[in-house]
Symmetry: C2
Subunit: 225 residues, 2 copies
């Protein structure tokens, strides 16, 4: 079996990506990064999803980005946005987050002699983050093949972003056909310790709209009002 490193945040996109990689026949190595996110229950969700899909190994790397980078996602004193501003990059943007996570995945992949890295970014319904676009993924892939010993030896890394052109509804339909239990995933930027979602931050709104568009009952565990 070919090995793949899969970045697993615990949200629905990365969980679906893991299910896709598993379905495609890869032996999956899940990597989750504790970067000081305020929605810490996301990491427990990642652990539960890794168990569900029976990954070969699951590593959690602690990297405190709060000393370098402030973001509404890591700073609990910031109020989270509840609507999107068209054309704006939101305050929940964490500088260079996907670049840092893909770099860590690359290090592990090279050690595992895996040449396939999966990331659940999507350029549709994506909150306007620049590091979710196809051009970015292509540029990262090109860089990896110059960065590594494996690349120099003629092995070719591929960065797979199977959801990059999918709407949230399409992601949900795909995951359901793969047997994914979305009640295990946490998308909410301010989920409580048990992973219950607030229901009104942008991540909650986009997620809930996805279930409606997919015509599937929303299994999200919401906080009691």
């Amino acid at each position: 079996m070919k090995k793949a490193v899969v970045l697993l945040s615990g949200g629905m996109d990365s969980a679906t990506t893991l299910a896709i990689a598993h379905q495609a026949g890869f032996l999956c190595y899940a990597l989750s990064i504790d970067y000081g996110q305020r929605h810490h229950s996301e990491l427990q969700a990642a652990a539960n999803i890794g168990n569900l899909i029976q990954v070969a190994s699951h590593q959690f790397i602690k990297l405190d980005l709060t000393t370098l980078a402030s973001s509404a996602l890591t700073d609990p004193s910031t109020t989270l946005p509840t609507k999107e501003e068209p054309g704006e990059i939101p305050i929940t943007y964490v500088p260079a987050r996907n670049t840092i996570m893909l770099s860590l995945a690359l290090a592990w992949a090279e050690v595992l002699q895996s040449y396939d890295i999966f990331i659940g970014v999507t350029a549709v319904d994506y909150s306007g983050y620049p590091d979710c676009r196809p051009d970015y993924i292509a540029a990262f892939q090109k860089m990896t093949n110059l960065a590594t010993k494996a690349g120099r030896e003629g092995k070719y890394f591929q960065i797979h972003a199977p959801l990059i052109n999918c709407s949230k509804a399409a992601i949900i339909r795909k995951g359901i056909t793969l047997g994914l239990d979305y009640s295990l995933t946490v998308s909410c930027y301010q989920a409580d310790e048990s992973g219950h979602a607030c229901g009104h931050c942008n991540a909650c709104r986009i997620r809930h709209a996805g279930f409606i568009a997919a015509g599937i009952a929303d299994p999200t565990r919401y906080q009691e009002k």
Copy 2:
């Protein structure tokens, strides 16, 4: 003053790079990564050099790569090589190290609104690491401008590698003209806690040969035999 983020390991190349950035008029923000390297006194050397050059800020980020990646540089049970094998990438190669470090520098740079990142890689006398080559640096720079909010807003990040075409002797001569005290720097892969060098690992050999080629007395503090 324009701000620059400078990766500072505590070795002679990154120290010289910091001196060059400072001399060029940048307000320097030094970033050092504690990635579990066995030559931990390198980080104390980084602190001393940051003080000498009076950086605006110096951040130390702890990132335990030992769970993902084994390398002779992080695994104290491995015997370090004392000669180079032509054409081989040595066992001291840490997978994706420069990619991870540049990614962290990018995150900080974006927060500081700095568009200049300095790294002390060199493609000459460089021990054969793939992530020290000009093509790699160019590919990383291209990726950064797609990865970031700043890049999307038309600001352009530059990855400066001012030593990339310099021999060790040229680096040493440059640093001496900038007033750098190389006795503060630690290159040895197995320096002791006080930063005294072993004198026979590859890093020590390349460094010592550099001083000889530059015609400058080697100020390295060696361990007593």
